[in-house]
């Protein structure tokens, strides 16, 4: 083998770089996703299992219905009428009032970054650390 030493060294370095994420995170546990369910509201628009797997499709359907078809009322599986609105229904003060304790839990765990919040305003939450200086 010509230049065997160089090739083997290269392969070893290459493998080490490729597997870097595995051994770097070895023995480290990622905090488990722990979404907190609302205390006031006990029932979502659809059953829990459905919401767990298909909330994104439901929201997609909601946005098309509201924006494009002007149909904004949704009859939930329990027969209750809901206003199809992320900000005013899902994230209302009586329901998922804290994005960080609900949405972010699983989304961060699975490294999903939905672009809902680029435009939609998440509910106000107290930020314990940050103290903003008042701007004039």
């Amino acid at each position: 083998m010509y230049d065997g030493g160089k090739i083997i060294t290269g392969v070893v370095i290459g493998l080490a770089l490729l597997t870097f994420p595995f051994w770097y995170n070895l023995g480290r546990a990622v905090t488990k996703a722990d979404p907190k369910l609302p205390t006031k509201e006990k029932q979502c628009v659809e059953p829990k299992a459905y919401m767990k797997t298909k909330h994104m499709q439901l929201l997609d359907l909601w946005r098309d219905s509201t924006v494009r078809a002007a149909k904004r009322s949704y009859i939930g599986f329990n027969g209750v009428k809901y206003d199809m609105s992320l900000q005013n229904t899902c994230m209302s003060p009586d329901c998922h009032s804290k994005k960080t304790e609900f949405c972010d839990q699983c989304h961060n765990y699975t490294a999903v970054v939905p672009y809902c919040w680029d435009c939609h305003i998440p509910p106000k939450e107290e930020k314990p650390k940050e103290v903003k200086p008042k701007e004039e």
């Binding site: 299992a49 098309d64 949704y74 680029d118």
Partner: protein, 280 residues
């Protein structure tokens, strides 16, 4: 001869269908994937909801602006209330500014009808300008993603911000300058405490404009600018300068006003057929 070509093709076709059906069935039973009907539902984007009972509906929404009754105070109040409830940022740089409704002079609003000896009074009146919600909206024709579209139910020209890719074709197409592009992140110019938590903001790189308060109509309320003008006019004891109604309904307040007063529309020669009328 056992199987001829024709028969083979038939069997092959049926077998392929069968192969597809099995995994779909398994997925549906597991509760992981979608049932076939759900997939179809989603594929065709069938609207999932209904129109609320309290919603205001019309065949073709329109507005009349009686400029003789409008003063600067009212015009600015309209602009202020609209921009506040829709989270429109106030950006001082004119190259970056975003506006849904704004007052301007006659010579800018009616470029083709202006001449040097125009009535003196008219020159000073504030003309409240906004999206005209045209019958033949050029913005809707050019939009490559159908982000801006004419709502079939009531003729409002709306924007689906989820689809806007920021190409600005609609801005080039709109002859009225009714559209604004978000050159900068609008949230930088909105104070958190001033945000209306019931309405979204926009993000950098999308176009926005007046939506005839579609979100308020759905809740049975008239557009915010019309409402504030009615309140202010009541205090002053005058007729309301803005009238909102159904252009297709001959008995609507709007049509009665159009019947009794001479009205102008902006750039009618272009054939866009605006739904905003100006009583002069």
């Amino acid at each position: 001869m056992g199987v001829n070509r024709r028969k083979f093709m038939k069997i092959a076709g049926v077998s392929v269908l069968g192969l597809g059906a099995v995994p779909a069935q398994v997925l549906a039973e597991d509760g992981l994937g979608f049932t076939i009907s759900e997939t179809l539902l989603h594929f065709f984007h069938k609207p999932a909801g209904t129109v609320a009972r309290e919603a205001l509906t019309a065949k073709r929404w329109g507005m009349a602006v009686n400029v003789r009754l409008l003063d600067d105070e009212m015009a600015n109040a309209c602009m202020e209330v609209c921009h506040r409830i829709h989270n429109v940022p106030k950006i001082d740089n004119p190259k970056h500014e975003v506006k849904w409704i704004w007052p301007d002079e006659f010579k800018h609003a009616f470029t083709s009808q202006e001449h040097e000896h125009i009535e003196e009074g008219l020159k000073k009146l504030p003309f409240l300008l906004m999206c005209n919600h045209c019958v033949n909206a050029p913005c809707c024709r050019v939009c490559p993603t159908q982000a801006t579209f004419k709502r079939e139910s009531d003729g409002i020209v709306l924007m689906d911000m989820h689809r806007c890719i920021g190409c600005r074709f609609c801005m080039a197409a709109c002859p009225y300058g009714s559209r604004s592009f978000n050159w900068v992140d609008p949230r930088k110019y909105l104070k958190e405490e001033d945000e209306n938590p019931e309405y979204p903001t926009r993000m950098k790189g999308v176009v926005e404009k007046c939506n005839f308060c579609a979100e308020r109509l759905a809740k049975g309320k008239i557009p915010a600018c019309v409402e504030i003008c009615q309140e202010m006019a009541k205090k002053k004891g005058t007729e309301p300068p803005l009238v909102f109604g159904d252009v297709d309904d001959p008995d609507s307040e709007l049509r009665q006003l159009l019947r009794s007063s001479y009205t102008l529309r902006r750039k009618p020669e272009l054939g866009t057929s605006p739904n905003v009328f100006y009583v002069v």
